[in-house]
Subunit: 351 residues, 3 copies
C-alpha cells in the first residue's frame, strides 16, 4: 500500500535535532536532519548524487553539508555550492531534494510530498508539548518492526491495557467504549471509560487516593496519517474532567518502511511541574510500557502476518471495540487513494 505523502509527519522531537547530522528514513526515503546556525531545521535527502554515499557520513560546516567521500558541498536548499575538484564546475544535476520542515509543539514535522502544498496551518494540535509555561513534558522514541497502522490499531483500542499493561489495568475490568461522535474526514475518537472504580496503579502512583472511587477515562483522538493524542485522566465520580488528574499523552507514528515504524511518544502534565523525580518516573513508565509491553506484541503480530502489512487483507474477526480503528483505516485509505488518483490525473495531463 502506498503512503500518504502530502501530509505532515513527525520527524523528531525538537530536542533530538542539533548540530549533528541525524539520519532517519521516512516512507522509504533516507533523510538527514540538522539545525542551522540560526536555529531553524533543515532536511535533505541523505544520498549524495555523485556516488550515493549517505550525506550524514559527512560534515556539517556552518549551514552546509560536505559529503564525506569526495567533498561536494550542499546548501540546506539542496543545491550544490562547491565542487573541490577539476575546474570546480558544478554539474546541473548536482542537487539533492530538500524537504519542508516545521517545528511546532515540540515536534519537528516533515512534509514528504509536494513542497508547494505544505501548509503549516494544517499541523494538528499537540499544544501541550510546546507549552513549557503550563506543562512539563517527557519525551520518548522507539523503533517498531511493524507496519504503522498496527500501532494505530493498538492505540485506538485501549481495552488491551487490561491484558498487557498491569500498571494500567482497571480493578473493575476492561474499559467500556462510549458512543463516539460521528467522525469527520479529519478526526476519529475512541473514548474508553471505567466509571465508579478505585484507581488503577497508575493513578494511585500519580496521587489519586487509593480508597476513593472515581471515573477513569482514556479518550483517544486520531488524525491522519497516524497522529494520536490521549486524554487520560481520573476524576471523582461524575466530576468534570478539568477537576481531576490528567496526563495528556502524544503518540506520533511515522512509517520508516512498510514494515517498520518510528514511534514518538510524549507525556505532559500541568501539576508538579518542577518535580523532576516524577518526570523521571513517567519517562521510565513510558519506556517500559511501550518498549517492553506493546512493542513485543505488535511485532509478534506483524511476524504472524508474514509479509502482509495490510491487516484487513487477512480478514480478521472484528469486535465492536474495533470500530474506531476500522474507521481510521478507511479514512486513511481514501486519502491515499485520492492522492494516487490525483497523481495519475496529473501525469495524464502532462503526457
Amino acid at each position: 500500500m502506498a503512503f500518504l505523502e502530502n501530509t505532515w509527519y513527525a520527524a523528531a522531537w525538537s530536542g533530538e535535532v542539533g548540530r549533528q547530522l541525524l539520519p532517519r528514513t521516512f516512507l522509504n526515503q533516507p533523510v538527514v536532519l540538522y539545525r542551522k546556525e540560526n536555529g531553524a531545521i533543515a532536511a535533505l535527502a541523505d544520498r549524495c548524487p555523485h556516488r550515493f554515499v549517505p550525506l550524514h557520513l559527512g560534515k556539517l560546516k556552518g549551514d552546509i553539508v560536505e559529503c564525506g567521500y569526495h567533498g561536494l558541498c550542499f546548501k540546506d536548499t539542496g543545491e550544490c555550492s562547491f565542487n573541490p575538484h577539476g575546474d570546480g564546475a558544478i554539474p546541473k544535476a548536482a542537487r539533492v531534494k530538500s524537504y519542508k520542515v516545521a517545528e511546532r509543539h515540540g515536534v519537528v514535522w516533515i512534509w514528504m510530498g509536494d513542497a508547494d502544498l505544505a501548509d503549516e496551518s494544517k499541523i494538528h494540535d499537540f499544544g501541550q508539548f510546546g507549552d513549557s509555561e503550563r506543562y512539563a513534558s517527557v519525551f520518548g522514541y522507539l523503533h517498531v518492526a511493524a507496519n504503522y497502522q498496527l500501532i494505530t490499531d493498538n492505540l485506538l483500542d485501549l481495552t488491551h491495557g487490561q491484558y498487557i499493561h498491569p500498571l494500567f489495568a482497571n480493578p473493575a475490568g476492561p474499559s467500556t467504549m462510549e458512543p463516539n461522535p460521528p467522525y469527520d474526514e479529519n478526526t476519529v475518537w475512541a473514548k474508553f471509560i471505567r466509571r465508579n472504580q478505585y484507581p488503577n496503579k497508575y493513578f494511585e502512583m500519580l496521587g489519586y487516593p487509593g480508597d476513593r472511587r472515581g471515573d477513569h477515562r482514556n479518550y483517544m483522538r486520531w488524525n491522519p496519517p497516524a497522529l494520536l493524542l490521549l486524554d487520560v485522566g481520573m476524576t471523582g465520580v461524575g466530576e468534570p474532567h478539568d477537576k481531576g488528574i490528567s496526563i495528556p499523552t502524544a503518540h506520533l507514528l511515522t512509517p520508516e518502511t512498510e514494515s517498520t515504524t518510528h514511534y514518538f511518544w510524549g507525556m505532559a502534565r500541568d501539576f508538579r511541574r518542577d518535580d523532576t523525580a516524577l518526570g523521571e518516573i513517567l519517562l521510565q513508565i513510558g519506556t517500559n510500557v511501550f518498549d517492553n509491553e506493546d512493542k513485543p506484541i505488535i511485532e509478534a503480530q506483524q511476524r504472524s502476518m508474514g509479509s502482509t502489512t495490510e491487516l484487513l487483507a487477512l480478514k480478521p474477526v472484528l469486535l465492536q471495540t474495533d470500530a474506531p480503528a476500522v474507521r481510521a483505516r478507511r479514512i486513511l485509505g481514501e486519502l491515499i487513494q485520492n492522492e494516487e488518483h490525483g497523481k495519475q490525473a496529473a501525469s495524464n495531463v502532462a503526457s
Copy 2:
C-alpha cells in the same frame, strides 16, 4: 514440495508439554501445545483470529487460552468461549483450528491434515520409549536449518559414522550394508553391520570387553514421513541379537518449514536402568553427536544446495549405500503425490 499432511508427526516428547503454552511450528503452521487439567494434550493454531497475535503470548486459564492482546478466550476445541468487550457477542468466525493429538510411546503426536482421517492405530511402534517398566530412556531435541529429508538421508546411510563420529567409528572400517528385505509401502530398512571386530569406543564405554571381537550392527527402520528407529547393538561373533548390548534409538523428524526441521531423538536401554550416571552420559553423547557432528554437516549441505530443498533435483551422484534413502524418498514422494491428487479430485467434485 508439498508436505504429507494426513499422517502422524512427532510434536514433542511427552515431558515437554505441561501447563505452559508451548509454541512450535509444523509444516509452516504455527501451533500452541498445552496439557489440560485432566492431563490430555491440546493443540491449537497459534494465531488469534482477531488481531493475529500468537496465542502462546497469552495465558492458560484452566483448559482455556486467553489471548494476551485483548482477552478473547478459546477452548481446546478451538471455539471462542468468551469476548470480554462490548455486549460480549462472539462473532461466528471467532475460532481457531484445533489439531488432533495423541500421546503414545512417550511422544506427543500431531495430525496436521484432515482430522476425520486421524487414526491412532496407525501410529508407528516406538514402544521402548513409553515402557518405563522395561526401559530407561533419555530424550533430546535439536533444531536443524535443513530440509527434513536431508536428515532422513543421513540416518539411512550410517556409513557416515566412520567420517564424522569418532565415537562410533569402527576400528575395522566403515560398516557394510546387508541385503535389505524387499520394501513395502510402509517400511524401509537400512541394515549396516561390521562383523568380527573389536568394539568401537561407544560399545566399549557401554561395557563390551575391549579385547573381545564381536558383531556390531546398525539396523535402521524408516517409516513415512520421517520416523526412524535404530536397532544398534553389539554381540559376540555370530551370537543372536538378543544376547548382547543394545541401545534402541529413535529419530523423529518433523518439518518446521521446507528448510528447517524439528529433530527429536531418544535412547532407550533395558540394562543398568537405575544407573543415572549412565543416563547422563548417554544424554551428553547424543547431544554432542547430533548437535556438534551431524547438524553442522547437514546444515552446510543445505546451504550448499542454496534454496533447493529437494536433493534429487540437483542430480547427485548415487552410491550403492544410497539405495535405502532413495527408496524412502520415492515412497514419501508417492504418498504426497497421491494426497495431492486426492485433494484435487475432491475439489473438482466440490466445484
Copy 3:
C-alpha cells in the same frame, strides 16, 4: 551483470595457502584451495557431487581431499579416486571441477572460465610483490559487502583521500588529476599529483623531511577485471620519481558475489627492508585505512544503492575526476559483453 570469466583473478596471497583446506567463493562459485605436497597449488569446486557437502569440511590426505561426510576421495584433477563403500565402484559423474591456478608475484591467481584459454603470460605485472630480493612487502585482506566495481571507483579517484584518510590528506588540498595517456583496451591510468607542498603525515612518517617541500604523486594503474597498482611516492620539487621515497601498493579485487568482494592489498618497499618495525607499522596503517576508513563508506554506498550493483544504472552525477573510473567500467563492460556474445555464438553452433 555477468562477470568476466576468462581472466585471471586473485584467489589468495601465496602465504595464505598451505596444508589446510581453504574455502573461498569466487564469482558465486565455491572453491577449496590447498597446497600439494610438491608445493603447487590446487583448486577444486568446494562441493562433493554425492551429497553436496563442502569439501573443505573434509580432510587433506597427501594430495587427495577426502569428503567429510561419506569419505569419497578426490584428486587435484577433480577425479574421484576412491569410494570406500559397497564394491568400491566409482560412478562416472563422481568428479568435481578443477580450476587452473598459477602462483606469480606472491599472488595465487585463479582462472574461473574455460581452462583451455588460461594463459599465464597474460597475468599482469605485480613483480614487486614476488621479488623478495629487492622488496620487502606486507600483505592484507578484507571482505567488503559491496560490488567490486565500487571499489575500483574508489581506487581510480584518489581525491577521496582528502576526505576520508587523515593520514593521506595533503596539506595543500586534494590532489589534482594529470592528463592521462590515451587508454588502450588493457590499461587505464589515473594520475593524481600535488606539487610543491610539505609532506602529508604518511610521507613524514616514512622519513620525508617535514620542512621540505616536494611533489606527492599517486599514479594508479588499472587492468581488467579489477587489478590495480598504485605508484605512490614523494620526491623533491621537480625531481625524477626514482629519486624519492615510494611505496608501490597493490589492490586486487575479486568478486565473491555481485554484492560482496575479496579485497587483497599489499605494500612493497625497496628501502629499510630489514626494518620489521616499519613493516609492522605499514601493516597497521593499511589495515586501519582500508578496514576502518574505506570499507564503511563503500558499504554505506552499496546499501544506499539497494539491490542495484551497477552504479551507472542509477545515473550518478559525474565529475571530471570520474573519467578514469568511467573508462574502466566501459572497458570491462565491453569485455564482458564480448565474452557473453562468444558464448551465445558457441551455443548456437553447438545446437
